[in-house]
Symmetry: C2
Subunit: 184 residues, 2 copies
């Protein structure tokens, strides 16, 4: 139910092609939502069917025409309505936590390495987010709450603080698993 709102949010900023949306979701802000292009294309078609988006066709590089989608007034209104409702909380499903929960059964040495690797990956992701944040001007992005940068700042902050917490936890787990491995 939220993918359509993610699309509307991106279209509210500026017109996009389906390909563009899929790419942006994966490259830059995989922090708030992601979708495969196979999911994006049908959903964009539905948005048009519901009058929430429109598109313009132009010559594409492949056999199919390139479609550039734009949000409509109705789309903007739908987005505002959705923003007025409280967000639905869904339970987290994280394999890292699940494996930590079961770690008393497993090989401590081996698992410690995995958590150290996870901490490093988290660190890299963190660096990416910080680079993007610097790119939009850091705290200056908060100056005008009517501009997209305001939203970027808030969601990037979430990505940064969440990755920091994840990285620190992974390092703690790795340390505890190491300690347990050497004690045996």
């Amino acid at each position: 139910m939220s993918l359509r709102h993610a699309l509307l949010a991106l279209l509210a900023e500026q017109p996009h092609t389906g390909y563009d949306i899929g790419r942006r979701m994966h490259e830059t802000v995989g922090l708030f939502w992601t979708a495969q292009h196979s999911q994006v294309y049908p959903e964009l078609a539905k948005l048009v069917g519901d009058g929430l988006a429109g598109f313009e066709s132009s010559a594409g590089p492949g056999p199919k025409k390139k479609k550039t989608y734009t949000i409509t007034a109705a789309g903007r209104a739908a987005l505002r309505d959705w923003l007025s409702e409280p967000a639905g909380r869904r339970v987290p499903r994280d394999e890292l936590v699940l494996k930590a929960f079961a770690s008393w059964v497993g090989d401590k040495q081996l698992m410690a390495e995995h958590y150290r690797a996870a901490a490093e990956q988290s660190q890299r992701q963190l660096a990416t987010y910080e680079r993007i944040l610097a790119g939009i001007g850091g705290e200056e992005a908060l100056a005008d709450s009517q501009r997209p940068e305001f939203g970027w700042y808030l969601s990037l902050q979430r990505g940064i603080t969440a990755q920091r917490a994840l990285r620190d936890w992974c390092e703690m787990v790795a340390a505890q698993l190491d300690r347990a491995a050497t004690k045996d």
Copy 2:
């Protein structure tokens, strides 16, 4: 693919009924994985089919017999194998972040209230985790890495630090939205 390992992890601790597993997942450690009973029952049956679990029937309160599932040696081995593989990272899908991203379009005052409410809910969840942690003896749980409490400690720490980060971020967002609302 991970639900079966979540079930194995719970069965490794002690025998459970399907109902029991569903309840525990929702009440206590909804922090690492959750599942509806409609998903748990068929998966337990599959585990038995694969020789990873066994069960004993006894008289139940309803029309059906009560089944108490136990992990087998093969189940324990499968769990250990799975723990030796690195965890698959999946992208987070969080409506709170998505709405923050789009907040420049929405009603700031209204949204600020939602984020404050989310912060409070997060605070309550945090308190629950801390209570459970105290129940298993806090850091003493780390003493023996061969006992389930070791895993409980690690995963509860994840829940606690993640909820703290979420709560703080929600409060920051609420404050920024408030500031934006009064400036208009």
